[in-house]
């Protein structure tokens, strides 16, 4: 019965329920949100900052903001979009203030962050994928932030153009243009390195 109710509940209603429970001091509500979005927010921060140290800090601070403001969430967007917006705004504000060094092609401290291995790949293929991944991640760090945000949200977080527009607070046409230009720049950077 409970399971059927959970399936029937619309995602929006579930988001609102979480916010309501949080407002009334139910600690488990935030814990649920954290469990669901920790990896997403961390990976967003990792690709924006380029290293796991900043990514961990950014994730922590973003979730503190989520915790502080979750009670005010009114469902005007989905909780997912809202959390992305909170996290990305925090990344922008922190990374904008600090001029982070651009990423190099040397092994990054990112090596310290355990990757989640794809079980479909063998060890050799995984090693090659790691090298390739390092190269692509470094190239990503070399494209302008506005384009990087759009590409990361689309190609790594799998958001639709509509969702990205809601996260970034821009029109869909702008999203389309930023994604295209970001991919184009990425292609140029990768080709330069070849």
């Amino acid at each position: 019965m409970m399971q059927a109710m959970a399936v029937d509940a619309s995602p929006r209603q579930r988001d609102l329920d979480l916010a309501e429970r949080h407002r009334h001091g139910d600690g488990e509500a935030f814990a649920e949100v954290y469990r669901e979005y920790e990896s997403t927010v961390y990976n967003l921060a990792l690709r924006m900052a380029g290293n796991p140290f900043d990514a961990a800090d950014l994730t922590q601070e973003a979730f503190l903001r989520v915790h502080r403001h979750l009670g005010k969430f009114r469902g005007r967007s989905s909780l997912k979009t809202w959390i992305f917006r909170v996290a990305l705004n925090h990344c922008r504000s922190r990374l904008g203030r600090r001029r982070l060094p651009t990423q190099s092609l040397e092994p990054l401290p990112g090596e310290l962050a355990p990757q989640i291995p794809d079980p479909r790949r063998g060890p050799e293929e995984r090693a090659l994928a790691r090298d390739e991944g390092r190269r692509v991640a470094a190239a990503l760090g070399r494209i302008p932030v506005q384009f990087r945000e759009a590409v990361v949200l689309r190609d790594l977080q799998d958001l639709s153009y509509e969702e990205i527009a809601a996260v970034l607070g821009v029109r869909i046409g702008t999203v389309r243009s930023r994604i295209a230009r970001g991919r184009q720049r990425l292609r140029e950077v990768l080709e330069e390195e070849n």
Binding site: F30, R98, R99
Partner: protein, 235 residues
């Protein structure tokens, strides 16, 4: 209609790749691609980029991250709880109550004393050399400085971020761009941090912090070396 001589722009190709074009526009793009090898090559180039991004593996967040978040929330809630309790206690008192009047007078006096002493100290600090020293420097202590919300200590020629027990502290070498920027922006801190115990540099080291920066315990190969009791604040 998209004429073949014009070619498709990147926005269109990229949106087509994502399946984000309306059906009729997508058909027009497909029709153009059939006869235009140049646009097909550009589409392939974009497809390779998307494919490469799709092969980036997701990283697992550090295991201690959830604990860190939990600890910070508990700390924040503890502080707000204190204010809420104070507020609620005050709400329970009548405005005419002698206790309220006494409290208000004491609070006002305390504020005045703080502002006057703080202002004087600030003026004296401004007149002094830019490398202000902490009031009671203790040789061998680790001074902690706050930079952009990070607690940093100087170890040899590196800055190290104070981390919780079990975490790996993050070194920021002084000869790195970030280190130079840090030293450039905080010359007072460079003088202050000169008091830090010299040690091995450039290495990540486990740091044991007991929750707040006022009682940091830093361990290295020689054992516990820190005595920082009161952390300096930025002048």
């Amino acid at each position: 209609m998209i004429a073949q001589a014009i070619h498709l722009d990147d926005d269109l190709l990229s949106a087509y790749l994502d399946g984000e074009l309306p059906e009729r526009q997508a058909e027009t793009v497909e029709s153009h691609l059939t006869d235009c090898p140049g646009c097909r090559a550009r589409l392939d180039g974009l497809r390779r980029v998307v494919h490469a991004l799709g092969r980036l593996e997701r990283a697992a967040p550090p295991q201690v991250l959830a604990q860190r978040v939990e600890r910070r929330i508990a700390l924040a809630e503890g502080q707000s709880g204190l204010f809420e309790r104070l507020e609620s206690n005050l709400r329970g008192l009548s405005l005419e109550s002698p206790m309220v009047v006494t409290f208000a007078v004491v609070l006002a006096l305390a504020t005045m004393v703080y502002l006057v002493s703080h202002g004087v100290a600030r003026q004296q600090g401004d007149a002094a050399a830019p490398t202000a020293q902490p009031a009671e420097p203790v040789r061998g202590s680790i001074a902690v400085t706050q930079v952009d919300g990070h607690s940093l200590v100087r170890r040899g020629n590196a800055w190290v971020e104070v981390a919780a027990l079990g975490e790996i502290a993050r070194p920021v070498p002084l000869d790195s761009e970030a280190g130079r920027e840090l030293a450039g922006r905080h010359p007072w801190a460079a003088g202050l941090l000169g008091l830090a115990v010299e040690g091995s540099a450039h290495e990540a080291m486990p740091v044991d912090a007991s929750g707040d920066a006022e009682a940091v315990v830093l361990r290295d190969g020689d054992g516990v070396v820190n005595l920082c009791r009161r952390c300096p604040t930025e002048p």
